[in-house]
């Protein structure tokens, strides 16, 4: 009986761990293996080498997807960080309505991207949304048709995504700001530093951990982003808002080129891992007691 008690904790953990080994790590290996086969509509298990990867990078759509991810990712990360930091600093000025404003900035994060996408798709639709509203208000020369313009459509995804996530980044920075010793700020101001100088020289440099976390979260969300694109543009017009996630989905499930789809998923995993693994490694090491 004593023996069972000793093993019980590990037995309790075992099912979860086994599930993760199979569903996460086993499946990752499975997908990597598929990317080296000739699978099209259904998986087949004939190893034919890494040709799918060179074919993947020869597909113009994939290049478009990578380019779009670069545009979307960098703008999304930069705009969310800038807006988040700016709002956090404003909120941090001992304002009276903080309890009212903070939840207003943050609620979009509770909504699904499908809901957000539905709303933004409509506002940005020139026939019915913002453009028509401006016309109805008398500004008849106003045009805003980015969502129908293959050069500009990717930026409409940025607009909606920033609206959705910037409030959350604000909360992260606000937590960082609240962790800074206010004595240091007071001391700087007694020495004659202005508010702007105090933030630039003293406060913002101390927010490095918050910047790092924000970057990791945003980069990871950008690489994964799928729902918002499906809801807003479905990858269009043409393939103008194709992203690695939508590329993977269409090659795997509608274009029946499973090995190419698997290869694109492996590339996505590599992108995320290159950000997450070093981050988790330092976080886990840091808490050694």
């Amino acid at each position: 009986m004593r023996g069972l008690e000793d093993w019980l904790p590990r037995l309790v953990l075992a099912p979860s761990f086994a599930a993760l080994l199979v569903f996460v790590y086993g499946f990752i290996l499975f997908t990597i293996y598929l990317s080296t086969t000739s699978s099209t509509l259904l998986p087949v298990f004939d190893f034919i080498g890494f040709g799918a990867y060179s074919r993947l990078f020869a597909i113009p759509n994939w290049t478009v997807a990578l380019k779009n991810l670069a545009i979307f990712g960098s703008l999304y990360i930069i705009l969310c960080s800038v807006m988040g930091l700016f709002l956090a600093i404003l909120i941090d000025q001992k304002i009276r309505a903080e309890g009212l404003l903070r939840p207003i900035f943050l609620y979009p994060m509770a909504l699904s991207f499908i809901v957000t996408g539905t709303a933004w798709k409509w506002f940005l639709d020139p026939g019915i949304g913002l453009e028509q509203t401006m016309h109805a208000l008398g500004w008849t020369s106003f045009t805003f048709n980015w969502i129908k313009d293959s050069q500009m459509a990717i930026y409409t995804i940025v607009i909606a995504a920033v609206w959705q996530s910037s409030g959350f980044i604000m909360a992260m920075f606000l937590a960082g700001l609240r962790g800074i010793d206010s004595e240091i700020m007071k001391a700087a101001q007694i020495d004659g530093a202005s508010t702007v100088q105090t933030y630039r020289r003293i406060v913002i440099p101390q927010l490095r951990p918050a910047f790092l976390s924000a970057f990791v979260v945003l980069a990871h969300l950008a690489i994964k982003s799928f729902d918002l694109i499906i809801a807003m543009t479905n990858g269009g017009p043409g393939r103008a808002t194709e992203m690695p996630s939508t590329f993977m989905y269409s090659y795997t499930f509608t274009r029946n080129q499973m090995n190419i789809g698997a290869a694109s998923a492996v590339i996505m995993l590599m992108m995320i891992s290159s950000i997450i693994v070093p981050y988790l490694y330092t976080e886990l090491r840091g808490e050694k007691k």
């Binding site: 019980l8 904790p9 590990r10 953990l13 761990f17 993760l20 569903f23 996460v24 499946f27 990752i28 997908t31 709002l87 404003l90 001992k94 304002i95 404003l101 207003i104 900035f105 943050l106 609620y107 979009p108 509770a110 699904s112 991207f113 499908i114 809901v115 539905t118 709303a119 933004w120 019915i128 949304g129 509203t133 609206w163 959350f168 909360a171 700020m185 101001q189 530093a193 202005s194 508010t195 702007v196 976390s213 990791v216 979260v217 690489i223 994964k224 729902d227 499906i230 809801a231 993977m248 989905y249 499930f253 499973m258 789809g261 492996v266 996505m268 995993l269 693994v277 988790l280 886990l284």
Partner: protein
């Protein structure tokens, strides 16, 4: 420069440069508040307008004629699948999916966190690291094999399949939450109970669980929002009868046939958003804490 110093240093002074900068501060904050609220306002306003008013007018104006018909249509008439059932059955699907998925993954996460902090074994850190990494993988990497295994288990296209998938891929986060919370829980209490002969489960029920209220709330909210808002798994694995609300809404909005009933789309979007919005309004504090500990380790 001195005026700005006064802004922070002397909160009670009422000199005019100070009130000017305060006015500017509030103006900017209010403009941002409008920016964040506008989409919700527009959705609500346009979901209670007849379609003709939307097509002709501007999206900011209040309805000339208020109507709840779009809501009623979205709920039980809109054509989503083969039949015009409205979003109602899909809303129910989401509930049938989210309740067990959240309950199971939370219970398992609590037990895992308990073991990983109070019954450490060699390699516990590697086990935890592997679980943590699983939180961040892009799900595209597991889509194909998951589809295969759900098929092999005979639960492809069913709600059971979605429950399984959400439990498995939610475990990493639920374990993370409880593990970080129990890390701070005094191990001496557990050891003392062990000396008194309390069993593994008894210690969990009697000692850890009673003080786990806050972390249970955070975990449940986190899992609830994630599972409810999920689209990728729903779209990939659900089949026509098990579609969750997000997938049904997307089909409704993007169906290419007939006149686009924007007011019905908005009502549908609000219906799909309602559960998580209510959670956010009721338990906003915990919602934020959940987001934060999911993002930055507690």
């Amino acid at each position: 420069m001195t005026a700005q110093v006064a802004t922070v240093a002397d909160a009670r002074s009422e000199s005019s440069p100070r009130s000017l900068s305060r006015a500017l501060l509030y103006t900017v904050l209010i403009l941002f508040a409008i920016y964040y609220l506008l989409p919700l306002f527009i959705m609500v306003v346009n979901s209670v307008k007849p379609l003709s008013e939307i097509q002709g007018g501007n999206m900011l104006s209040l309805p000339a004629q208020w109507t709840l018909e779009p809501w009623q249509k979205a709920w039980n008439e809109a054509q989503i699948g083969v039949q015009a059932t409205g979003l109602q059955p899909y809303f129910l699907n989401s509930i049938l999916m989210v309740v067990p998925a959240v309950a199971i993954s939370t219970i398992l996460g609590a037990l895992n966190g308990y073991v990983l902090t109070k019954y450490r074994f060699p390699g516990h850190k590697i086990v935890f690291g592997l679980m943590l990494f699983a939180c961040f993988i892009p799900f595209q990497i597991v889509l194909i094999p998951t589809a295969r295994i759900l098929g092999a288990l005979g639960i492809a296209g069913t709600i059971y399949g979605l429950i399984l998938v959400h439990v498995v891929y939610g475990l990493g986060f639920t374990t993370l939450y409880f593990r970080n919370y129990y890390e701070a829980f005094p191990t001496e209490l557990v050891r003392a109970a062990q000396v008194d002969g309390a069993s593994f489960f008894k210690i969990f029920y009697r000692i850890l669980l009673p003080s786990s209220g806050p972390i249970i709330v955070v975990t449940v909210i986190w899992q609830f929002t994630n599972v409810w808002n999920d689209f990728l798994f729903g779209a990939s694995f659900s089949g026509p009868n098990a579609m969750p609300i997000t997938v049904a809404l997307n089909n409704l909005v993007n169906s290419s046939t007939g006149v686009k009933e924007y007011n019905v789309h908005f009502a549908g979007a609000l219906l799909a958003a309602l559960p998580t919005l209510i959670v956010y309004i009721v338990a906003g504090r915990f919602f934020v804490r959940g987001l934060m500990s999911g993002a930055v380790k507690g």
